[in-house]
């Protein structure tokens, strides 16, 4: 059930219509039932896994809180971590590790029969597992109290606006909202409706219109000229941003209309002036999760430069792997780890600072290189298996540096269309950056606001593409 579908609109309208007639406890019951219905619309077979993860998380949480001594607390934390990472390992990474192990053994001269398991990746597993892990780790660190009601915890894990593609909420941020009565005032309603409209516009007008150009380009990796590679990277950069942030805005908007305030997951990431700032602006909920639960657990920056750089690198590699079981994601994560390390080292070693606009432009180029790595996610069919071919595709893409300005695939003919699609978004992003306000539209005189919204609505109605089969981040 995609957010940009009539099915979701009807579902949400029905839920909302009943929601505000109920008291808090009944609202939570309604939301849990609605969330499981929402999830089962994706794939009912994995509602059992969602429920099991919820039960394990709740039970482990209580045991962590009740345990006598550090040993007992650690035992229940480890159990929870092993369960959650174990399910991720089985459903998401088994094939990847098995395939690479078999390939490695083959290189060493050991032929092993491939274990072929057609394991389906449950939608949203990376997101709700991280919800449960953050709850358990926060309890262990004594930063929160356990929630006494299973139903409230179940809602925290399965809350439908963020169930399948985040943002990755923290227990200390969302649970208090679940256990407290909610209110909806005029401002929240306006903000919620604006987020819904803006998210839909980004997804249906920008992301969906860029998608065919990106698909065409990356389907012809070996033939792209250098300018075409750059254009494809730009198009993908805006496609993935609008796809993902559009979904997040739809999630936040629908949550706001129910009285919830979800974490802001994006803050103009392409205006970042350095790698560190980029990760404070892109997929903020994931990068902060990795920082708080992985980077700091590894030691953070407390044990000298070498350990700091190691911890940064490992965190980013694992962050890359979180996005998918393929080498391109690992390499993308490693790439961002490397530029983070270089940035840290440079900042520590020198006080030279470049003008902000230049830093932003330069960081954007580094980001584009990263997106080329990220999008090189090709698989090929060998027998009955889908095999990771991303390394070969990366080679083909970066071969554009050798192909230079040779005749390519004809993508450059579409440059005007691509730039026309991106232009209105860029104009609005510049305004948001200068005013530093995600609800900039409310600061305008009503007449200007109406004109801009009418123009955006026209673009949406006239040029919006309705039938995308998913949001990019659903596969994670």
């Amino acid at each position: 059930m995609l957010f940009n579908s009539w099915r979701f609109v009807l579902f949400f309208a029905a839920i909302l219509g009943v929601y505000w007639l109920l008291d808090r406890k009944k609202q939570n019951v309604l939301l849990v039932l609605a969330s499981y219905f929402f999830y089962s619309a994706w794939d009912w077979r994995f509602t059992g896994l969602l429920l099991a993860t919820t039960v394990v998380g709740f039970a482990c949480g209580r045991r962590i809180h009740q345990a006598n001594g550090e040993g007992g607390r650690r035992f229940w934390l480890i159990l929870c971590v092993v369960y959650n990472l174990g399910t991720l390992a089985v459903f998401k990474y088994f094939g990847f590790f098995a395939e690479n192990l078999i390939a490695l053994l083959a290189r060493l001269g050991l032929e092993v029969d491939p274990v072929i398991l057609k394991i389906i990746l449950p939608v949203g597993i990376s997101f709700y597992n991280f919800h449960v892990l953050s709850y358990a780790i926060d309890l262990y660190r004594r930063e929160i109290e356990p929630t006494p009601r299973f139903l409230d915890f179940a809602l925290f894990v399965s809350f439908f606006p963020l169930l399948v593609a985040g943002p990755i909420e923290r227990a200390m941020h969302l649970l208090p909202q679940i256990v407290a009565p909610r209110k909806l005032n005029g401002l929240m309603a306006r903000q919620g409706l604006w987020l819904l409209f803006w998210g839909l516009w980004k997804k249906v007008f920008v992301a969906e219109n860029l998608s065919p150009y990106v698909d065409q380009a990356f389907a012809n990796s070996a033939a792209l000229s250098l300018p075409e590679l750059y254009l494809a990277a730009v198009a993908f950069a805006f496609q993935i941003y609008c796809d993902f942030s559009g979904y997040t805005d739809l999630a936040r908007g629908s949550a706001k209309l129910m009285g919830f305030d979800l974490l802001n997951n994006f803050n103009l990431p392409y205006f970042a002036a350095n790698p560190s700032e980029f990760w404070k602006r892109w997929h903020i909920s994931l990068s902060s999760w990795l920082r708080d639960y992985l980077y700091i657990s590894l030691g953070g920056n407390r044990r000298g430069k070498a350990n700091t750089y190691r911890n940064l690198f490992l965190t980013m590699v694992i962050g890359g792997l979180w996005h998918g079981a393929a080498w391109n994601f690992v390499i993308w994560g490693a790439y961002h780890g490397l530029i983070l390390i270089v940035h840290h080292a440079w900042s520590a070693a020198t006080s030279i600072r470049m003008p902000k606009w230049l830093a932003i432009a330069l960081m954007a180029q580094f980001t584009l290189v990263g997106w080329i790595l990220f999008r090189a996610n090709r698989t090929v069919t060998e027998g009955h298996r889908q095999v990771d071919d991303s390394l070969r595709q990366m080679g083909e893409l970066f071969g554009a540096f050798g192909r230079g300005f040779a005749p390519g695939t004809g993508l450059l003919e579409h440059a005007p269309s691509i730039l026309l699609i991106i232009a209105p978004l860029l104009a609005i992003q510049i305004v948001k950056y200068l005013w530093n306000d995600q609800f900039w539209i409310f600061r305008l005189h009503w007449a200007y606001s109406a004109c801009i919204q009418a123009f955006l609505a026209f673009l949406l109605v006239r040029f919006g593409v309705q039938a995308g089969d998913s949001f990019i981040y659903f596969q994670f």
Binding site: W6, L10, V465, A467, G468
Partner: protein, 334 residues
């Protein structure tokens, strides 16, 4: 409204293909035009399409140029793909390479056209040109496209006149109304949990369904066969059945039994083997077909499917010596 009205009157605004009234068919594609059409319940605009002076989707034929006449529905016209990706265009290229000289496949496909419509187009075309081969694409979906009644024809005429009057006053409002209707279709589909794809049903796959379809459309198939015999043009019925169903086999058998005994009428079945869909479970095959061979926003054929069809037809034509370069002319001699 003002923004929309201004945009729709801009010279650079995307043009839509148009239809003209036809007293027999109800409507047909206007000649000598280029433009796009909505696909996927107005989800997206198709690539631009170009039509010649006959309303066929191909470049203008040169005087005396050999031709192959291709007829069918929107899948022949090539909804959602570029001019160069349609199977008729690919067939032109392929046959030209084999023959060593150019031959143009005339694309007389039209959305919503079934065997009745094809027989009318064929009759009109053969009155003014001679083709080395006539190809008629047939599929089970054609059973939904029947001869319009006089009331339906009259309704087409009235609608076209009314739309022309509205467009003198506003261009944006008709678009908004169409868009609202499309959204209403989507809402109904959402409520019906999958809704009704009226073109495709399980009957499309059964022997009985094929038998009913063939029996009802036989008069038009007979007419096309007669017209081609009289014109001395070989006729090739191409049955598209990517799922490899009983219906496809039944149609092929019925066509073969009725038309291949005498004359130069041929039957070609393109099924799951040509599409490489194997013999897996039906639902697995269907999912693979939709993912590999249809447009993202619309169940019409994508470029890959057109390529498979063109390749299969070209191979059959070449193997059977059809359109092998007999002396012919685009225009019939007086």
């Amino acid at each position: 409204m003002l923004i929309g009205e201004i945009f729709f009157r801009l010279p650079l605004a995307p043009r839509h293909i148009s239809y003209v009234f036809d007293p027999v068919l109800g409507k047909r594609l206007a000649p000598s035009q280029s433009g796009s059409m909505w696909i996927g319940n107005m989800a997206s605009l198709s690539p631009s399409m170009t039509f010649d002076s006959r309303g066929f989707r191909n470049r203008e034929a040169s005087p005396g140029e050999p031709t192959v006449l291709c007829l069918g529905s929107s899948e022949t016209m090539g909804t959602g793909v570029r001019d160069s990706e349609v199977w008729t265009s690919l067939l032109s290229d392929s046959l030209s390479r084999v023959r060593g000289n150019a031959i143009l496949a005339l694309n007389g496909g039209n959305p919503g056209y079934g065997p009745f419509h094809c027989s009318v187009i064929l009759e009109r075309a053969l009155a003014e040109l001679r083709s080395e081969l006539v190809i008629v694409r047939v599929s089970m979906g054609d059973r939904n496209f029947q001869q319009p009644s006089p009331q339906q024809v009259e309704a087409y005429r009235r609608n076209m006149e009314r739309n022309a009057r509205i467009k003198t006053a506003t261009l944006f409002l008709p678009f908004l109304i169409d868009k609202a209707r499309a959204q209403w279709t989507s809402i109904r589909a959402a409520v019906e949990f999958g809704g009704g794809n009226k073109v495709y049903t399980r009957e499309n796959e059964t022997r009985e369904g094929a038998d009913r379809m063939f029996t009802r459309e036989t008069p038009w198939f007979d007419k096309m066969d007669s017209l081609c015999r009289a014109a001395g043009s070989p006729l090739l019925f191409v049955i598209i059945d990517p799922m490899g169903t009983e219906a496809g086999t039944e149609l092929r058998d019925r066509f073969t039994a009725r038309y291949s005994e005498a004359g130069d009428t041929h039957v070609l079945l393109i099924d799951n083997e040509e599409f490489g869909l194997g013999q897996d479970d039906r639902e697995v095959r269907r999912a693979a077909f939709l993912k590999t061979y249809t447009l993202v926003v619309d169940p019409h054929a994508n470029a890959r499917q057109h390529a498979v069809i063109a390749g299969s037809i070209a191979a059959y034509v070449e193997a059977n010596g059809l359109a092998a370069g007999k002396a012919s002319a685009t225009e019939r001699p007086d």
